[in-house]
């Protein structure tokens, strides 16, 4: 049920019910009051006649013994005065003897010849005065009064309902406009909703909607870029493989063998990219059960350094972490993160060059700083370093390495940031909180590492 229909029904029914009840109550009351008033008029008339009759001079009484006195008729009212002996002394209507025959005093109803009467009988100084009202006439009067009261009521009720209808329609018009604007949109349109002259109540709604739309749009663009980039990263080695295989099948001897070697290179690259994508997906979708919850910082650093290739003339200067520092992340992942950072520094270092690796315990965390003397990146590229598939210049690798480091850091309450190195180069800072609880240390036997040396120089 629409808001408008519900509002109209609720308010309309309530209004009708309240007005109706009030009207019924009022009319009942009015009915009683009118009846009462008419009865009183009847009684007053009787008393008035009694008052008049009692002041009549004796001659009149003597005359009355011979023939009945006639009282001028009041419209709609009949009256008769009876002597104590029951004789009619005076009357308004001569044809109403049956109706006006005195009975017990007070008000009563009497039906005579199919006509209903309201009777009042009054005893005064031995005289009995009977007054009568035709009920039909009383009812006509009553109906008139009721009508006079009901018509304004009906008018007011109709007016109120009309005002309610118009007011609701008008009041909800901004909502209808919003509904229309939303209905007319293309289901995939993400442009902000723009409706002029919105009431204050709807403005926050539309603002929130627009903010949401803009966020969705950004996410959509990011997603699209990611898909596009992933397609590019996967299709490029695939193209290399396919093309070289086709060349190999058409050539013979050395050329064919060379093409096959190239195709194999493409396969390893594709495998690398796939594995990195899977790693990212795993990091985002929860942990492998096999992963431990924490690791020894020093052994992870050692493993990461040992994994680096030894071909380049790059000197690693390392400030080792304390032997008892534990990080709240699985050993394999800390190694992966460190290795990716080290490989990056290694890759962009001049030949010969040097990379400084520094583990700094600061309060509740461990900051790992890796400084290289490579070309560094521009200011606007600095925040894009950890973006997926972002590569520096002609680039090596899949552009996922730093994205993985960032994902690992985020997954385990750490963070990754980059700054410029002076005079040139890049500083990568990876920070992890330290595991406070010493009980964890018993889980993994401490490995006795030799004196801290750079694994290769």
């Amino acid at each position: 049920m629409s808001l408008r229909t519900r509002l109209l029904w609720t308010l309309g029914l309530t209004l009708t019910l309240l007005w109706g009840l009030t009207a019924v109550w009022l009319l009942r009351d009015l009915h009683q009051q009118v009846e009462h008033t008419l009865d009183q008029r009847l009684a007053q008339s009787a008393r008035m006649v009694a008052g008049l009759v009692s002041q009549l001079p004796d001659e009149v009484w003597q005359q009355a013994e011979h023939h009945r006195l006639s009282i001028p008729a009041i419209k709609g009212l009949a009256c008769q005065v009876n002597s104590p002996s029951g004789e009619v002394i005076a009357q308004t209507h001569t044809d109403l003897d049956g109706v006006l025959t005195p009975r017990q005093t007070g008000h009563s109803y009497r039906t005579e010849d199919g006509v209903k009467w309201r009777i009042f009988t009054y005893q005064h100084d031995d005289l009995t005065i009977t007054t009568a009202d035709r009920v039909e006439e009383r009812n006509l009067l009553l109906t008139d009064v009721m009508m006079a009261t009901t018509v304004p009521f009906l008018f007011a009720l109709t007016g109120s309902l009309a005002a309610l209808w118009l007011g609701t329609l008008r009041g909800l018009r901004p909502l209808s406009r919003l509904k229309q604007a939303l209905a007319q949109r293309h289901p995939e349109a993400l442009a902000p909703v723009e409706i002029p002259d919105l009431p204050a109540e709807l403005r926050p709604l539309v603002a929130t909607l627009n903010a949401l739309l803009s966020r969705v749009q950004q996410a959509f663009i990011r997603e699209q870029r990611f898909t596009n980039d992933a397609a590019h990263e996967l299709r490029t080695p695939l193209t290399a493989i396919k093309t070289h295989l086709q060349v190999a099948s058409r050539q013979h001897g050395e050329a064919s063998r060379f093409a096959l070697t190239q195709a194999e290179k493409g396969v390893s690259r594709l495998q690398g990219t796939l594995e990195q994508l899977l790693m990212l997906a795993r990091l985002e979708n929860g942990l492998d059960d096999a992963w431990q919850t924490h690791c020894l910082a020093r052994s992870a650093a050692m493993d990461a350094l040992l994994m680096l290739g030894e071909e380049a003339q790059v000197t690693f200067t390392i400030t080792w972490p304390d032997e008892t520092l534990y990080l709240p992340a699985p050993h394999e992942l800390v190694v992966t993160a460190l290795r990716n950072l080290l490989e990056n520094a290694h890759r962009f270092s001049p030949d010969p060059g040097s990379v400084q690796v520094c583990f700094n315990q600061s309060g509740s965390g461990l900051a790992i700083e890796i400084r290289d003397q490579g070309p560094g990146v521009s200011d606007q590229d600095l925040p894009r370093l950890a973006e997926r598939f972002w590569r520096h210049g002609t680039g090596h690798g899949s552009g996922l390495g730093l994205a993985i480091v960032s994902a690992i850091a985020e997954r385990f309450s750490g963070r990754l940031s980059f700054t410029h190195n002076a005079p040139h180069g890049l500083v990568a800072q990876l920070w992890f909180p330290l595991v406070e609880d010493t009980r964890h240390r018993a889980d993994r036997p401490d490995v006795a590492w030799g004196s801290p040396v750079a694994p290769h120089q």
Partner: protein, 233 residues
Amino acid sequence: MHVLLIEDDALVASGIQAGLEAHDFVVDLAMSLADGRHAMKVSSCDAVVLDLGLPDGDGMTLVREWRESNLDTPILVLTARDALHDRVAGLQGGADDYLLKPFELDELVARLHALIRRAAGRAHPRITHGPLNFDPLTREITVSGRLVMLQRRETTLLEAFLQSPTALLTTDQLKDRMYGLSDDVESNALNVHIFHLRRKLGKGIIETVRGLGYRLGSPEAVDVSQASSRPKE
């Protein structure tokens, strides 16, 4: 035929280069926008194979640049991005064809031939010159239905003449068609190839215009008797 390949990924580039060379294309490789721009300036080519994602920018900038300077060399765009708007933008930007990676080498070759053929204003893929018949795709040359065996460079040279049957081609233009930028060309190599063509197809197949260059001889000059006795299957 001379193709300029602009592709930044060395592995992909070497594959395409080897593949195209196997189909008798002469390939110049450029690995960035700047290299491509330079290569286009210093030598003429029959077609460009362009990758869109280049390290120093989007390949489409080259397409627009060239089209604005009225360079109408056919351009085939290669890309790994398959979003529709990418494709539409590519073609609207002035590219002539579009191929999604990974692709069949044969398709690339066929499309390049079609592009070059269309650029030369021919509707039919085969080129005929009197009794001589040349299929650019299969590289088959027949004279009166009999196969003529030519070497790779000779075929490329003949193709250059057949593609511009009335034009006067300078020595430099012919060398551009036959050799890549990186090829070491001996000074008399062109003369040697022309000599061989004349020997196999008739003296008048190529006319020398003294001091200016060469042009294709009349169709009557094709020597029917020189063709091998093996009829074309």
